[in-house]
Symmetry: C2
Subunit: 360 residues, 2 copies
C-alpha cells in the first residue's frame, strides 16, 4: 500500500470544488468539506475524503439533494424535528446541532431529531460544535443495516454510532465516539485487503455461525453488536444500537432498522420505506446549567489525570482518554499533512476528471 | 438452593416497615419499598429486597440519612443539579426524575444531575416514571469501582448502568437497562456460589491477566468493560462507563472514578473525597416534542414487530426486545409471587429481629 501525503488545505480546496460542482451553495460546500477534512485530520480515514465519490454517486442517483431546504418541522422550546430535505448529512447535521445549541443557550438544553438526511460523517464533528460552546454535545445516527441483533440471522441495524463530548480545562475535550458494533465495517475492509483473518466475535456468516473470514460479510453474513455474543453482553450492544435507531428515526420519522437506505449507490433503497432518508439525533446541554463551567472543567481535568496515571497491565501501555488519540492525530496532520492511500487518490482523480475539477 | 415464594404485598409491607423503623417518613418508606419491589417483580433479584440489609448497614454507619432535605441547588429552565443530602438513592432518584419530568412538561425536556446520593436500585424504575408520561426516560448512575478501563490494572469505574426507556403503543415499553461492564458483579457471585468458572472476558486477576475464576475479583482483580478486550471493543465499554461517570458525578459534584464510595458498609469511603456521595443522571423528553405521540408509538410497534419476527440463528431462539423479559417477569410475579432464596429470607429475618420488625 502506497501513501501520498497532502497538505490539509489542498484536500480542502479539492473537496470544496467537488461539492460546488455538484451544485452545493458555497457555504454548504465549505461546511461539508470541513466535516470530511476533520475526519481525515483526526485519523478516521474511513469517514473522510475517501468517501467523497460515494456522496457524489448518491447525488448522481438523485438520492442527495445539493440545494436542500433544511427546516424545523416540529418543535417545543427545547426539542425539534428537522427535515433534511434529502441534503448531505454533512450539512444537515451541523444545521440540526446548531438548533440544539441555540435552544440550549436560552433554556439550558436542546434536543433535535432529524429525518430525511444522509450519512453525516463522523459523529465527533457535531458533538465538538457544542463542546466549543462549553456544552456537552451528543450526536448519533442510524446507518445502513449490517448488524444482526443477538440471536438474529439478519442485518437489522447499522453500526449506529453514539458520541458524547465534554469540555475539559487544560486537556483536550473528552470525546467518546463509537460504533455500537463490535468492530466497524472499515476494520473488515482492511482485513479483506490484507487477506488476514478477523478475530472471532466480529462477524457471523450467512448461516449465523461465527466466522474469522472478513469476506463473509459480503457473502450474506452480518456484523455483531458490541459484546459479540450473549455471554459477553451482545444484547447490550444491540440495546445501544436500538436506542440510536429509535432516537434518530422512530422519533423523527426517518427510516429505521432494515429499512434504512444504503450508503452505497449501487444498492437500491427499500421500495416500501417506513420513513424519509436516514435519521440522526443531537443534544446540547450547557455545563453551567448544572454547575459553574470552571468547576466542571477542573474536576474533568482531575478525572483525566487520575485515569491517565492508572496502573496498567503492561508497562508498555497506558490508559487512553477517549478522544486523546484523535486529538494527537489532528495536531500532527495539521502540521505534516494527511496521508491517503494511492487507491483513494486514484478514485478522487477519476472523480475530478468526471466532474471537470482540477485533479489532486 | 431453596426458594421460598412470597406474595408481593407481604414483601412490600415488610420492606416499608424496615424503612419506617430506621426513621424514613412514610412516603419515603413506601417509595423506597416500591423501587426495591419493582426490581424483584421484574426478575432483577440482585437489586431488590436482597439488598435491604445493605441499605440498613449504611444507615447504621451514618452514611445514609433517613430524613434528607433533598433539594435543587442549581438550575436553568431545563437543567438542574439536585443535592440528595445523603438520602436513600431509592428516594433521591425518583425526586430528581420528577424534576426532569416537570421541566419537560413545560419546555419539552428536562435533565438532572444528582450528587450526595446512594445506590438507586434499578435504573429502569426511574426511566419508567417518564415513560408513563409519554416521555423518553433516561437514567444512569455511577457506582463503587470494580471495573478496569482498557489496559488498566486498577478498578477505576463502577458497573455504571445506562437506561433508555421508550413508550410503545400496543406493546410493553422498550427499556434498554444495562451495566456498561461485560458482566454484572451479580453474575460472578452466582458462579462463586455454584463453584463454576466464568467465561473468559468477564474479569481479570490482580496481575491483569484474564481469568475464569470468579473468586479472583475479590482477590484484587477487576471486572472488564463491555467488549472485554481491545480487539472486541472494550474501549467502547470503557467510554460508555466514563460517560455515565462524567454525567452523574463530574457534572453534579459527586464522587467519580475510584473515589466513588462503596455500597458495602464494611469498606470505608475515601478519606479524600472529590465530591459528595455517589452521582446519578436523569433525562425526560416529551415524545410529542418531536412528533405526535401516537405516530411515534405506531412506528415503535412496527419496529418491535419487525425485530421480533427476525430470522434467527437457531429455531429455538428469537430476537428479544429490550425490556420484554422483565415485563413478562412482572406479570408472572405479580400473580404468583416473588421467589427468594433461603439465604436472603434468613438475612431479612435477622434484620427484622435486630430492628424489632415482624419477621417474614
Amino acid at each position: 500500500m502506497i501513501f501520498i501525503t497532502f497538505p490539509e488545505q489542498q484536500l480542502r480546496t479539492f473537496t470544496e470544488a467537488v461539492f460546488l460542482k455538484i451544485g452545493c451553495p458555497l457555504a454548504d460546500a465549505q461546511l461539508a468539506a470541513d466535516v470530511l477534512l476533520k475526519s481525515d485530520l483526526r485519523g478516521i480515514d474511513s469517514h473522510g475524503v475517501a468517501r467523497l465519490s460515494g456522496y457524489v454517486r448518491l447525488w448522481e442517483k438523485e438520492r442527495i439533494n445539493a440545494t436542500p431546504n433544511i427546516r424545523i418541522v416540529h418543535e417545543t422550546p427545547t426539542t425539534a424535528t428537522v427535515d433534511g430535505d434529502a441534503g448531505l448529512g454533512l450539512v444537515v447535521a451541523p444545521f440540526a446541532m446548531k438548533v440544539a445549541i441555540e435552544k440550549a443557550k436560552v433554556y439550558g438544553s436542546g434536543w433535535v431529531s432529524v429525518k430525511n438526511s444522509n450519512h453525516f460523517g463522523i459523529a465527533g464533528y457535531h458533538s465538538l460544535l457544542a463542546v466549543q460552546q462549553d456544552m456537552i454535545g451528543i450526536s448519533m445516527t442510524n446507518a445502513s443495516p449490517l448488524v444482526a441483533p443477538t440471536y438474529a440471522n439478519e442485518r437489522l441495524l447499522g453500526t449506529n454510532p453514539m458520541c458524547y463530548g465534554f469540555p475539559a480545562g487544560k486537556y483536550p475535550p473528552v470525546i467518546v465516539d463509537m460504533a455500537t458494533a463490535a468492530a466497524a465495517n472499515g476494520k473488515l475492509e482492511i482485513a479483506q485487503r490484507a487477506k488476514l483473518p478477523i478475530p472471532e466475535g466480529w462477524a457471523q456468516d450467512k448461516d449465523g455461525a461465527n466466522t474469522t473470514d472478513p469476506n463473509e460479510l459480503k457473502a450474506g453474513g452480518s456484523l455483531l453488536p458490541l459484546g459479540s455474543d450473549k455471554d459477553h453482553g451482545s444484547h447490550k450492544g444491540y440495546g445501544l444500537s436500538a436506542t440510536v435507531d429509535i432516537l434518530s428515526a422512530v422519533l423523527s420519522g426517518a427510516n429505521y432498522g432494515p429499512w434504512v437506505p444504503p450508503f452505497v449507490a449501487f444498492l437500491e433503497p427499500s421500495a416500501n420505506p417506513v420513513g424519509q432518508g436516514i435519521g440522526h439525533f443531537f443534544g446540547a446541554m450547557r455545563v453551567d446549567g448544572f454547575r459553574p463551567a470552571q468547576d466542571f472543567k477542573d474536576h474533568l481535568d482531575n478525572w483525566i489525570e487520575r485515569f491517565k496515571s492508572a496502573k496498567t497491565i503492561d508497562p508498555g501501555k497506558r490508559v487512553i482518554i477517549p478522544g486523546e488519540p484523535e486529538y494527537a492525530f489532528e495536531n500532527e496532520r495539521k502540521k505534516n499533512g494527511i496521508p491517503l492511500i494511492d487507491a483513494v487518490v486514484n478514485d478522487l482523480n477519476e472523480l475530478a476528471a468526471k466532474l471537470g475539477v482540477a485533479s489532486l
